[in-house]
Amino acid sequence: MNSPLQASLISTIPLRSSRRTRIRYVWAYLFILPQAAFFLIFSLYPVIMSYVYSFFDWSGIGPLQNFVGFHNFINVLSDSYFHSAFIHSFEYMFGQIVLSFPLTFLMALVLNWEGLKGRVIYRTLYFLPVVTTTAIVGIIMTYVFGNQNSVVNDVLISLHLLRNPVPWLAAPFSAMIVLIVVGTWKSFGMMMIYWLAGLQSLPVDVYEAAKMDGAGFWRSMRHITIPLLLPVAAVILLLSVVNGLHVFDLVKTLTNGGPFFATETADLYIYRYAFDAGIPQVGYASAAGILFGLTVFALSVALGWLVRTVRNRLNGGGNG
């Protein structure tokens, strides 16, 4: 499989290579082989074919022969449901980040406080939703927020925060709010752990020096913690943007895109055309997947550039 590769690199092997080295090379290739095969078949080939399919009018059954050029792309781009699905993905991502970014940072600061007892217990508690099955959580939440006799309404009414039960999942706006709140609850612990890892990697001696100079909590926060954490913050932002835009399990089980497509996100839209339609439109779904994938990719490249700029500026500032 990789003999052309070997042939092209054979010149780099030292001529005196002993028998032992050659045997080791053979073993190394054999060790790489299973993962390489898996990679070629289940990673690289699907990525390539996800582009190829998008240029065909194809239901997924029978030969791939009806080449239609950019026709699928034009159709996707002119579908108003795709536009709104696209926007919903961004609304969800944006809402979730606005809510969880500052809150998780605050929580990580508190849990990083060494004088606090029981930090591990709190960490476990807040991390718990992360490890649970999103699809199951989505289903439980349909009952928690459900329209009649729901737990949330009962609680809010008994606290006199609400007079009449709210049909949370029946109205477009509140359904999106529920998705964002549940999504935030679900991923909160993950983001918190990222922040904690960042906080724990900060150099202790800098803080000690600042303390000697008489800097209080807020001043070391402003002049040490926040500037030093900017690269970590940028990475967290990047991960949350990509994860938030690709939300599927939660939407599928909690609202299934409803009421009437009001919370249908891009991945749900694509799924609908690929697997949920009477006759699947695989080519069309692939085109939508490419358009959305390229958008997410462009955004993450921009954010990656931000990560690098922040890091470089920090290093430059440290030296100067």
């Binding site: 590769l5 690199l9 990673s43 960490r123 991390f127 006799n149 970590v232 599927f248």
Partner: protein, 276 residues
Amino acid sequence: MNRKNPLHYLTHVILLAFGVVWVYPFVWMISASLKTNLEVLNSGMTLLPKIPQWANYLRAWSEAKFSVYFLNSVFITVSTVAIVIILCALSGYALARVNFPGRKVILFIIAAMMFIPKGYTIIPIYQIIKGMGLLNTLTGVILAESSGAHVLFILLFMTYFAKLPKELEESAEIDGAGFIRTFAQVMLPLSKPIIATTAIMQFIWTWNSFLVPLVFTLSRPELRTLAVGMLSFVGEYTTDYAGMAAGASISLLPIILVFVFCQRYFVEGIAGAVKE
């Protein structure tokens, strides 16, 4: 330890209140799973059931086929974890210990894989499994679940194996062990922490996976995993709230237990991933 500090107490009060809200959905789930349907409807806020209805679990387990879903989930998850560990340990070892021609190319491909814009790759994966004649089989689901470049795990194994001293390998070879015996009997047992991290993380990912089993079991209900089975259950029995809660508890309790007992490996793995 300044216990007199009122800020200390206030922090604990806030953290605890927050924590109660945080786990409330799970507490509600377990409480509802032990109530009658009428109780779930009328006394949503009271957590303790009048008489614990263990029959709900029995109904979910046998009648609603959660026993089948559970076994499918276990089988798929365990197989996937085993495959991923084998693939990653082998390739990580080769990349770390042998400077074979083409090693740099492979490292470059691993890094570059993260920077390729992808389309909707589940469709081609579906077509490959179909082409192999494995559609509507558990093997097909396992193969699809084991797909992915496993970049994080390969890197974890690679950096770990690279750190082990050369003398270990040499003394094993003097004792007459070949490449594979040195790996299997000397080096692999030393990498237990990485195996544990990989196992826990992959276990949680596969157990929680939804899209792959959903797509691959559309026409075969007996192959459903817990997550997919749950969705079809609430579609069929819309008013069996207690049964729903019992099914959800059956699905979530194993993963919660795995996490609580092995969280060190999981949290460290994630923290390691973000630092890379």
